[in-house]
Amino acid sequence: MADVFVAKTVITEKSIINTGKKQSKTVVAREGERHIHALSSFCQNPVGLHFKSQDPDESIFLLLRPHWITNLPWIFTSIFLLLIPSLLALVVDANTFPFAFLPDQSMFVYVILYYLMVFAYMFISFIHWFYNIFIITDREIVDVDFSDLVYHDVAATNIVKLEDVNYTKTGFLRSLFDYGDLFVQTAGGKENLEALAVPHPDKAAQFILNALEKVDANN
């Protein structure tokens, strides 16, 4: 009987940069087994990630986004906002409720509108975190900034134009959870890229320097 579902075996050649040494490793992966940790803040060799200006043979080494701990303020705010109607119902007496004069249908509309707005706040906060990414490939560094709903900025620079990479990690929380700001300066200072509140900034900086060394060696 003919096999209907056969996982396609793909052999890919990946060049892995690790502790300054170049290693060539053959990875055999089944197409069906390919998966990514989509919510990861520090993802090496991510599979399934593509960006607009990516060349077909360009491979992504590292994906950075803000540390998950930076999401806590909006998560706590959202929980509080979601609980407000229930808390009001418990605390405020129905007779003294300031909007008691409104008919039930009106209250239904306002409650739904309120929860939709809270949901929008949660969704925007999430995509703000999700789309603030910093991608390091074997050719370029791409910085995608999603500041707010009506503004986004995409900056990319060729990796050979890099001049300086540095990072800062200050404060109790940043030291505790090992995250900080990564800055990349290019030649002439035309395009300075920054990845804010990313995990393991020291490793990321080393990663970029290793990638640069690799490109220099290839040239």
């Binding site: 990630l49 929008a120 969704f123 995509i127 999603f146 709903l149």
Partner: protein, 74 residues
């Protein structure tokens, strides 16, 4: 026909204000949807990016439904 007394009815005023608020919110939801689609074109990270676009669409449909429900209910 609409009369001046009818327009001065607090319930009608409340309904008009509510409809304006929901309309503005619908425009905001549409901007949100467009922005998610734009970002998905810049960075694709399947299947999560598709899920985000779907959530934005569902949110926009929910707001439009609420607008229509407000027209009928209030």
């Amino acid at each position: 026909m609409f009369s001046l007394e009818m327009l001065l009815d607090p319930r009608i005023i409340l309904k008009i204000i509510t409809l304006i608020v929901i309309f503005v919110y619908a425009a905001f939801a549409l901007i949100m949807l467009n922005q998610v689609r734009t970002m998905n074109r810049i960075v694709s990270y399947e299947p999560l990016t598709m899920l985000l676009a779907l959530i934005a669409v569902v949110h926009f449909i929910a707001v439009i439904s609420l607008f229509l429900a407000t027209v009928v209910i209030l």
